[in-house]
Each structure stands twice: as C-alpha cells, then as structure tokens.
C-alpha cells in the first residue's frame, strides 16, 4: 500500500516541504521567483486538501480536481516540455535537492511545468490509489494501517532530502558536474506531485561514478532507470537494469514496473546500473556507447572473478582495456604499472600478468577505442560463463550446486563443472514453491513423460528471485515479444511478475534503426573521448564503425534468406509453433523476424531519433503505467453504477489486471489470477484479416478455471474491506509459488510479431499517439513516441494542450484508466466506453484503423454516446449479440463460435482506440493442441493513398498437413472523408478474392479516433 492515503502525513510533508523550499531561495539567485514557487505550493496545498476530500468522498476525485484546474490553465504556458534537455540541464544546473530553486532562465517554465504536473499527479494519485486495489473502497482502513510506518519513513527521507537540498545549494556554483545531476531534477519535480516526497537516489554507474537524482518516493523502477539511461545517453537500454540490495544484502533487479519504494523496503535508495541481459553477440549492438558500457560491466565481472577466465584471457582483455582507455602503447612514456594496477584487471593481478598485458597492448597499435572495445567483447563473449547468472542451490540430496541462467537456458554446475543443462526449449514450466524451484522438462525422444526437476534454494526469496530471472531471461532471449497482443508491456505488470521490457528480438530491431550520430562519451579512466584515436581522424573511425554495423545488418538479412534450412526446422520443431525463437538456432530465426519487422516499420527509428524524453511527458507516460489494480477499483465503482453487470465486470477486470496476453500467456502464478483470456482484447492490430485453410487456432486457451478463480478474487474486495490486502497481495506477487510456462504461447506467435509491425505502422502512418500501441516500442523512450506522434499531426492540438495542459493531462489520465478497463473487458461481453473528461470531445477525424462493420457496431455496443460524457465515470454496457451476427457475415465460412469484443481506450489525450476481434470457430478444434513446423514466413507490404496493407504469410506443417496462414494488416488512414466501412468491406472482399480457397477466420478491427479537445 502506498502513502497517498495518509492525509495526515501529507500535511506534515507539506509543511516540511515548504520549509525546505523556503530554505532554498536563500541560496538562490533571484528572489522574485521564489514567490511564484511559493504560490505554486499553496496551490498544491489546496490541491492536496481537495484531494483529501475527494478521497473521502469516494469516486469524486476527478471532479474535485477539475474544479481548480482552470487556475492552472490560466497561468501562462511555456514550452518547457519541448525544451531540449540540454537547456534544462543548464537551467537546472544549479538546482539540487528538494525545493525548487529559482532559476533565471528556467524559472517560469519550471513553475509552469510543475503546475501541469501537479494536476497530472492528481490524476496519477487517483490511478495509483486504484492500483492499490481496494484502497478506494475503504480509504480509512488503509490509512490507519499505513500511517505510522509511512510517516516515520518519510521523516527520515525528508531529512536526507533536506540535506541534499542544502548540499545542492552549496554546490550550486560548482557548475558542470552538478548540472548533469540536476538535469533530471526538474523533470521529476514537474511530474511529481508536490505532495510526493522526493527521495534522493544514488546509482552506482559502471564507470565507478555515482549518479544522484531525485525521484518521487512513489516512482516506479523504470522512472529511475530512464533517468539513468538518459544521463548515460544510452539508447540500447534493454540490456541493462538497476539493482539494489535487499535487506539480506542480496542483489536484486529493480522491477521497472513496480514502485521503487516497495521493492527496496528500506530507506537505502542506492542502486547500481548493471547489464541485465548480456547480448550473445555484442557486435550486433548498434552503438559504441552500448558496447562501452557492456565492456565496463565485463571488466568488472572479470576483475571480481564473476566471469572467470584464464591468465591469457585476462591479459588479452586487459590489453584491450588499455588500448581503449589509453590508446596506443607509448614506448617513450614509461608505462609504470601504476595505472594498470588501477585498472584492476583480474582478481589476482600480478606482475607477470601486467607484463603480458603490456606485451599484448603493444600489438594493438592503431586500434581505436571502439575497436578495442569490440575486440574485448569478441573475446569476452566466448567465455563460458559470459552472461551466466549463478544462483546457489542444492539438489534433492542436498548437494551444493549452482544454477546458471543464461540466454540459452538453465545450466547446472557442481563446483566449476557443468553437470546438466536445460535449454529453454526443453523447459515446459518453471515454477517455485516456497524454497523449491522446479522445472518441468519436455520428454526426450525416448521418454514418454515429462519430468520435473527440483532444486532447493536457500529460502523462498532466492527461489523467487531465481524464478524471476528465469522468466525474464526466457522472455528476453526466446520470445519475439513479451506481450504480443497489447504491446502494452509496461501496462501489464499487475499482480504477476513477468518480463516487462523488450525482448532481444525487439531491441535488436530497435537498435538497428538507431539513426543518431554516435554520441561522444568519455572513457573514465583516461577521459579519452570515445572516438578520438591517436592520430586517427574521427570521421574515418566513425565510418569504420558504421561499416561494421552495416555489415552486421546485412549479415542478418543473409541469414534470413537461408533461415529456412531444413536443419533448423527439424531441430526442435515442436517449439516452432510456440515461437520461432524456440528453435535452437534462434538467432537466425530472430533475424528472420527482424527482417519482417524491419520491412514494415520504421517507427522505431523515429523514436530513436526523437530527442530524449522531455520530463513532463515521461511522467505522463509513467502515469499511464499505473499498475493495473487500478482497474479493479474502478470497476468497483462501476458496480455501484451498474449493479447488474458489476460482478462480472469486477471479475473481468480483476482478471485483466495482469493483462496477460493470450499469446504469450507465459506466466501463471498459482495464487494469483491468470488472465490469459483477457489479453486477447488488447490486440493492437488495426485490422487483421486472417485467412486460413485449416482454421486458425485462435490461441484462445483461456481456462475456465482461471476465470473462476479470478472472479472469486474479484469478489473479495467487494465483500470485505479487509480483503483489500488480499487483492493487493496479488500485486506483491503471490509469495509462495509461481509458475511460468515458457512455451505456452502457441501458434499465434507469428501474428503477434506482425501486430507489432502494425503498431509501428500505425503510429507512423497514423501519427497517432496511441499509448497502448506504442507501448512496446516506447518501452525505453516513452516520451518520444507520444511526442513524435503529436508533433507530426497534432500541432493545433498541442497548442491547445499547452494551454490546458493540466486539464488535458488529467483527462488523459482518466481516459487511460478507463482505457485499461475497457481493454480488459474481453471475455465478458461488456464494453466500457471511456469516460471523456472535461474539455475533450470526440472527433472522428483521426486515424481509423480499418473500420468496417465494426465501426458501425461499436457505437451500439459501447453506447458510444457515453463517450462524450463529461463525467469521469465508467459505464459498462453489455455487449449486444448483434455484434456476433455481424461478425459472421464477415467470415462467412465459419459459424462464429466465439466473438470477442474489446474496447481499447487509449490513455492519451486525444485518442480513442478500440479493438474488436472477431473470430471464426475453430472447427477442427486442434488448433492449439498440435505443434506445427514453420515452413516459411514472408511479409509483403503495399501501400496506397490511404491504406497500407501488410500481408504476412506463414506456412506451417502441422501433423502432416500444410497450413497456410495469411494475415493481412490493412491500415486505413484518413479523416471522416473516408468511408471506413467501405474500405473494410473492400479489404475483406479483396482478401477473399485473392485467396478464394481460403476462409476468413478472424477479423480484428482496431480503431483509433482522435478526440478533439474542447476549447475552454
């Protein structure tokens, strides 16, 4: 449970805060601005008070906030958001610590931003309160429960902060170094509600320096992570993560999706930035800076002995380090062993080794730092323990073992010896129960039954930690996408732990599209500029690097072409159906995938190119990430509103907390709910017309059981206020046991990939800021996406927005919440039209992703009238059966046994998104059950004026039958002038004509509508 409920604490905080802030100006340069700030604070106070009230009157939050929003709106708006970070850095340069320090250039903007943010935060608060599952239902209880610990904690933190603030003031004149740190301050402040306590985080970076930044106490892990990446100028961030030490001095990965505070469970806000997933082939990384960071990590790994290597390898790696850090060996300059000592190259570094290092160093003459890094990595990656994360365990007989999690699977070591290995494709299920860790193994050729191997870990914590690492590694290295349908990876972590970032396949694609000039960076030991080599012109160096990169890329494509070699297909074919990455030769397969994706989408490039996230937006983004339990709460509200359907709704949305996409459906936590069914709804496809000779397995594997479970859980909060804790517990990841089915995902995998493409397409073409859609891509750069999209086609809106930022954002928040709810209401024939907050009206002029009959129906189903409803309420309507019928018309061959309807409300200001999936019956019924062998896969993209068609053809061999599956993605872009219905009809017609022998099995209509803001 979080702070927000505790109103008393707030007051206290406030007082302290303003005290702190008043303190600051003394050190600051300009007095005038102080006033402004104070004013701001007062408003904050007001706000807080109002909020308190709101909380007391449950469900009225939005209203209360909106009342005073206009105040903010009246304030002059600035372009602060758009200001390049560097400027902010400068302006923020002197700020450190908690209170806003008046600033000559930055001042107005900051205040503005702050205000904006505040209103956002109100929203956020709401969201978060929802996220606490039942918090809203019984705030009082919560409060009493949380108050005291909360308070004491805060007090402590405040002390720290105050100290920090003073320090900042003192150091203010210091300039440069400070500036870096504080870049991130203003964003934080902007976005975070003043009521939120800011906490100073110390992040140990790989180069040995510390990065200090403030985050709001309730910030999620990724917020801090993004800050760090921003500081490092790192784009390929998916390989990295933050660690913290838990109470038992164990290093743990900071879950980006969860609040930092809840993870660290102490007041020790200290973290390290580390490599989380070691790229199997570092040469495929796009940027030198990424390689450099990887090198730093590996140097540390090697020096500490975590990555064991032989004498010669130590020396060789050390020599590359010297070359990278110091350049060519200089015989004139006596190279004392001092600096090599500093380098700390090996755990047992001796003179002999140092001499060897020098000897080798001489041979690297002329090598640029980047080349030296590359060589370093080429050698390091071959080490057998490269990228292996070891966890001590015991076997059933109590023998000490080490379990090593890596890209390829799980390794079992006894002392230094590998005594067993379970490749990911071999593993059917990963689970833990108390301190036991189990893997279920696919039966071998000669065996008939699956076997389960169990290991004992030291305690429950370590078992869970190992499990998490496995889940993440499996997802990262073996899956195309962690959460295929929604792509809302960042929205997904509710109660269950799953990997929330991009997979390797995705991040490789993203990296390959990075198109910024190589950033210059300083190498720590030497302060050498990255690209300057002794005597070598910088340009040529860059060229060299570029070439390499390009070659790498081409190579991939080549691989793709021969990727259909029978060898691979036969390898572990059983997994093909789950994901092409399931093949042992997953690299090639991935490349294949990559190519597909690359051919379609360039969106990521624009992301990557986009300027670093501007603070307010990134926060906006973050807000959207509010953990899903929010939904549950919302639905409870609905229950009040909509009594009859309430229970169902509650169940549904609770289940959807997890937002587990059906496709991946990887994680199952026994204690919590598994929401596989829900995810369906979240398919981001604009329109998917799937044509199939044998019916397509819709990958609908929802288990009724689970549903039932879900419902039960959902009911809990309703029944008893005390039950809150229980539903919350889902958030805390049901402690005792969890399961993970690495292979569950099934045949839909290809489509998923495609969907991703689509997303990209959509975003690119439609220029829609669809959060859900872009989520996966955005993962690392959330802000840009939104921004880019908006920039392109919504300039007017932007200006509007600027005017009414507070309000709008607030609205956005609301929408988002609703959006999620609706998103989730898949199985249940219930639609949740989004609430449209004040000032936002529906404008149908934006992008419509192929809307046909669906579009027409939607209003009916959702009761779209409600869309314009200015009140922040959620209204659920039952789905009229009409839809089904209509659907059948579309897929004439099959009786629609299943109709899914999902609404997706985009959590962004002016967008509304809906996804409707129509599925034809699985007449052959064996859709999912049988493994298939992927024979071929190809993607064709064609574009016309307002439509983009992506055709994805997969041929699969299933039980002797060859199945050809064609997926067409048609993106129709345009305003109301276009008859979307007709366009859809046409598209379907064409599809049928083109493949007369095939049948349409599924149509997914994803509609995005722009909501125009109403002028105040």
């Amino acid at each position: 449970m979080t702070t927000e409920v505790s109103s008393e604490t707030e007051v206290k905080e406030k007082a302290e805060e303003s005290a702190a802030q008043l303190d600051q100006p003394e050190k600051a340069t300009e007095e005038t601005q102080e006033e402004v700030i104070t004013e701001g604070e007062e408003k904050e106070k007001e706000e807080k008070e109002k909020e308190k009230e709101e909380k007391e009157k449950e469900g009225k939050e939005g209203k209360g906030i909106s009342k005073f929003l206009p105040t903010w709106l009246k304030k002059p708006k600035s372009q602060a958001q758009e200001a390049p970070p560097s400027e902010e850095a400068i302006s923020a340069g002197q700020q450190e610590g908690e209170g806003p320090v008046p600033e000559v250039n930055g001042h107005t903007e900051e205040v503005e931003e702050k205000e904006t943010v505040k209103s956002e935060q109100v929203k956020e608060t709401e969201a978060e309160s929802h996220s606490n599952a039942s918090a809203d239902t019984e705030p009082a209880k919560e409060e009493s429960a949380e108050k005291s610990p909360e308070r004491s904690q805060e007090t402590k933190e405040e002390q720290v902060e105050e100290k920090e603030g003073k320090e900042g003031g003192l150091r203010g004149g210091g300039g440069g170094v400070e500036g870096q740190t504080s870049i991130f301050q203003s964003p934080l402040r902007l976005v975070r509600k003043a009521k939120m306590k800011l906490v100073v985080c110390q992040v140990a970076l790989l180069d040995g320096t510390d990065f200090t930044c403030e985050v709001e106490k309730r910030a999620k892990g990724q917020y801090l992570f993004f800050k760090v990446c921003e500081h490092l100028n790192l784009l390929e961030k998916d390989y990295f993560g933050l660690t913290y030490k838990d109470n038992h001095e164990q290093k743990c990965w900071l879950d980006p999706m969860k609040e930092i505070k809840r993870q660290i469970r102490s007041n020790n806000w200290q973290f390290s930035f580390n490599v989380k997933f070691y790229p199997p082939d570092p040469s495929l990384l796009s940027e030198d800076i990424t390689r450099y960071l990887l090198c730093l990590q590996l140097r540390e790994d090697v020096a500490t002995g975590r990555l064991p290597c032989s004498f010669v390898t130590h020396a060789l790696l050390g020599s590359y380090t010297l070359q990278a850090e110091f350049g060519d060996y200089d015989p004139d300059q006596p190279r004392p062993l001092d600096y090599i000592n500093q380098l700390n190259i090996a755990p047992s570094q001796n003179r002999e080794m140092e001499e060897k290092i020098f000897e080798l160093h001489k041979s690297h003459r002329g090598m640029t730092p980047a080349q030296a890094d590359t060589q370093f990595l080429e050698n390091a990656k071959k080490l057998s323990m490269y990228g292996v994360d070891l966890h001590p365990a015991k076997d059933s007989e109590g023998v000490d073992l080490m379990l090593g999690v890596c890209a390829n699977g799980l390794l079992v070591y006894k002392d230094r010896l590998r005594i067993n290995r379970f490749a990911w494709p071999k593993i059917l299920k990963i689970s833990y129960k108390r301190n036991n860790f189990y893997i279920k193994i696919r039966p071998g050729e000669t065996e008939q039954f699956e076997s389960t191997v169990g290991f004992k870990l030291q305690n429950h914590r370590s078992a869970k930690k190992l499990w998490k690492v496995c889940v993440e590694n499996h997802s990262f290295y073996r899956l195309n996408a962690p959460e295929p349908p929604t792509k809302a990876r960042f929205l997904t972590l509710g109660s269950k732990f799953r990997y929330s970032g991009r997979t390797q396949a995705q991040t490789r694609l993203a990296s390959s599209l990075i198109d910024r000039p190589s950033p210059t960076f300083e190498r720590t030991s030497s302060k050498r500029i990255s690209r300057s080599v002794d005597g070598a012109p910088m340009i040529s160096i860059t060229d060299v690097e570029r070439d390499t990169a390009e070659n790498g890329r081409e190579h991939r494509l080549d691989l793709h072409s021969d990727s259909k070699s029978p060898l691979r297909v036969h390898g572990d074919n059983i997994y093909v159906r789950h994901s092409n990455l399931m093949l042992e030769d997953h690299d090639k397969t991935q490349d294949e995938v990559l190519k597909h994706q690359a051919s379609v989408s360039q969106l990521k490039r624009s992301f990557m190119e986009a300027p670093p996230a501007s603070p307010p937006q990134s926060n906006q983004w973050e807000k959207r990430l509010t953990s899903s339990p929010a939904t549950a709460v919302r639905f409870q509200q609905q229950q009040v509103i909509n009594a009859p359907s309430a229970e169902a709704a509650a169940a549904d949305c609770t289940s959807s907390d997890t937002k587990e996409p059906t496709k991946t459906a990887d994680v199952e936590i026994e204690e919590t709910i598994v929401v596989q069914e829900v995810s369906k709804a979240t398919q981001p496809a604009l329109v998917t017309v799937a044509v199939d000779s044998p019916a397509i397995p819709p990958a609908k594997q929802e288990t009724r059981e689970q549903e039932v479970k879900v419902q039960e859980e959902a009911v809990v909060p309703k029944e008893a206020a005390t039950a809150k804790q229980e539903s919350v517990s889902s958030e805390s990841e049901s402690e005792d046991e969890a399961e993970y089915h690495p292979n569950v995902s099934a045949s839909t995998h290809m489509p998923e990939v495609k969907e991703e493409e689509e997303e990209e397409d959509k975003v690119e073409e439609d220029k829609m800021a669809d959060e859900n859609m872009s989520a996966p891509v955005v993962a690392s750069l959330p802000v840009e996406i939104t921004k880019a999209a908006e920039d392109v086609c919504k300039k007017e809106e932007e200006s509007k927005r600027e005017e009414g930022q507070g309000g709008v954002k607030r609205n956005a928040e609301k929408e988002m919440e609703v959006g999620r709810e609706s998103e989730e209401s898949t199985e249940e024939p219930m639609m949740t039209p989004e609430e449209v907050p004040n000032g936002v009206a529906l404008a149908e002029d934006a992008v419509i992703g192929l809307v046909g009959h669906a579009e027409k129906q939607e209003p009916k189903m959702n009761g779209e009238t409600l869309l314009v409803e200015p009140r922040p309420q959620v209204i659920c309507c039952s789905e009229p059966p009409v839809v089904k019928t209509e659907m059948v018309t579309i897929s004439d061959t099959f009786a629609a046994q299943k109709t899914e309807i999902a609404t997706k409300e985009v959590p962004i200001v002016h967008t509304e998104t809906k996804t409707i999936t129509y599925e034809a019956a699985q007449l052959d019924g064996n859709g999912d059950g049988e493994p298939g062998v992927l024979m071929t896969a190809q993607t064709i993209t064609s574009e016309s004026l307002c439509t983009t068609t992506t055709t994805h053809i997969t041929k699969t061999l299933k039980g002797g039958l060859s199945e050809t599956r064609i997926e067409k993605r048609i993106v129709i872009t345009g305003d109301c002038d276009i008859d979307h219905d007709q366009a859809l009809a046409q598209a379907i017609k064409e599809a049928k004509e083109q493949h007369p022998d095939m049948s349409v099995t599924r149509v997914v209509v994803h509609k995005e509508t722009e909501l125009a803001e109403e002028e105040d």
Binding site: V312, N408, E584
Partner: protein, 282 residues
C-alpha cells in the same frame, strides 16, 4: 581465443614416447591379450612418421621407461589447450610416474604448466574431449569429479561438462573430434548415450558422424593450412565398415594408421601423442 574455431586442428608440435618392452606383459588392459612389442613399435614408428611428415609437426619423442609399461600413451599424462598444459594425475596408480617426463617436455616447450596435485583427483587425458569450444570430461574408472574440477579450474575460459563413461576405458575410447564442430562417435549404446549427454550439455551444436565400431571413432583430426582437413584413422583392416563411413567425409584427406597391437592394451590413436599448437600461444 579469438579464433578458436579457425585454429581448431592446428598444431605445431607433438609429444610422443617410446614403447617399453614391459608393455607386452605389464601394460594395463581391459581384456587379456598377447602383445607383440616389435609389431607395436613398428606401428608406433609409422604413427610418428605421419605426425612428422604428413602433418609437419615437430615431434618430441620421450624415451621409453621400462618401469612405466603404459608410458607410450602420453595423452593421459597431460591436457594441453592453448599455451596451458595440465599435468594430470592418472587414475591408474602404476601410471603416475609417466607425468614427470611429460612435465619436463612441456616446460621445455615453454608451456604454462599446471600440475594436478590434489590427491583426491584423478584424470586421464583420454577422458578429455576438447571440441575447440568447450571440454567434455568423461567420468570413468580413471577420471573422477575432482579431476574434472581441477581441469575446469585450469581452463577457465571454457565450459567443462562431465559425461559419465559407462563402457570402455576412456571417453575417447568411443569418440573424438573429426573436425570443427564434428564429433565422431561409435554406434554402441553407451557411446550414443554419451553423445546425447554431450549434446544436451552444450550450448554449441555439433554434427556427429556415427561409425559402427566404437574404437574406430577415435581419430586424430588435423587442419593443415595447405592441405585442409586431415584425419588419421585406424586401418580398413581393423574397421572396414567404419572406414566406409569416414569416407563420406568430403574434402578430407584420410590417412590410415595401423594400431592393432596398441589397441590390445586399450591404446587408441589419440592416446599416443599430445598435440600442441605453439603458434596460438601468445
């Protein structure tokens, strides 16, 4: 390290040892047999000749030691990889003395010599299969876990996986490397089982070539810059069927060497030499 695979099969030196007369009577053997020492020496002569002339290696011949009847099987006394040589602690007590001369020879070649001193450890080089990318160590009558651990500790760069050897003397009694990424393996059930284990344990993919006779799977692969893939194998006289399989190898130069007498005392082709690549050493 940078070019592990490219360097696979490249050698510059070989260490061999003479055959003592005591071999005939005293050498260890799994089944009783009569060994013709003269014939064995002739075979060994030819073997060395191939190493010297065909493979162009610098052959270091250690003198036979009558007190060490098995001393011709030098492979068991040392494991060499890169510039590092691990002097083993042979599983058979009667053979422990063999390491002394080996150690001196390796030191003379400027190798980084590491000795296995742990008295609980035993390791025969014949149980060590180096694939170019990793080690497999057979846990056999002669090699134990501790020996394998020490090997793993010495060759830290590489994964070292253990493979139970259920039949035959050594791991390499039924398999060997037939090239980069190619494992030659016998068709017996224990051999196949061991191969399965190796494949499961490895992050790398290996092709396999199954020969009908386990012992015929013990070959010496050498990659010569000018001649390409060379494979020293047992004669057709000994394993006609297996040779047919080996002949399927494309672009290989097959060289037969008779090993009849030595096999009577469980000596395979690889047993009789320690191959070293000095050029790869830095």
């Amino acid at each position: 390290m940078a070019s592990r695979i490219a360097d696979f099969g490249r050698y510059t030196h070989a260490i061999v040892r003479g055959i003592p007369a005591s071999l005939a009577k005293e050498a260890l053997r799994s089944c009783p047999s009569e060994v013709d020492v003269v014939q064995a020496r002739r075979e060994h002569e030819k073997y060395q000749e191939i190493l010297r002339t065909t493979f162009g290696l610098e052959v270091v011949e250690l003198p036979a030691d009558e007190s060490l009847p098995d001393c011709v099987f030098v492979e068991d006394a040392a494991v060499v990889c890169g510039d590092t040589a691990l002097i083993t602690r042979p599983g058979a007590e009667s053979r422990r003395g063999e390491t002394k001369a080996m150690k001196e020879a390796l030191e003379a070649l400027n190798m980084n010599v590491v000795e296995m001193t742990d008295e609980n450890a035993t390791l025969d080089g014949g149980d060590v299969l180096f694939t170019g990318q990793e080690f497999f160590v057979g846990l056999s009558k002669r090699t134990n876990q501790r020996g394998a651990e020490i090997l793993a500790d010495v060759f830290k760069d590489y994964a070292v996986s253990t493979v139970p050897v259920q039949q035959g003397l050594h791991l390499k009694s039924f398999c060997s490397m037939g090239g980069p990424g190619l494992i030659l393996v016998g068709s017996s059930e224990p051999a196949q089982k061991a191969l399965k284990i190796m494949q499961q344990m490895s992050d790398h993919r290996y092709d396999k070539l199954v020969v009908p006779d386990d012992l015929a799977a013990n070959c010496i692969y050498v990659n010569l810059p000018d001649k390409g893939h060379m494979l020293l194998h047992s004669t057709a006289e000994m394993f006609p069927e297996s040779l047919k399989v080996l002949e399927q190898l494309k672009d290989y130069t097959l060289i037969a060497a008779s090993n009849k007498e030595k096999t009577k005392v469980d000596g395979a082709l690889t047993c009789c030499s320690v191959l070293i690549n000095k050029k790869a050493n830095m």
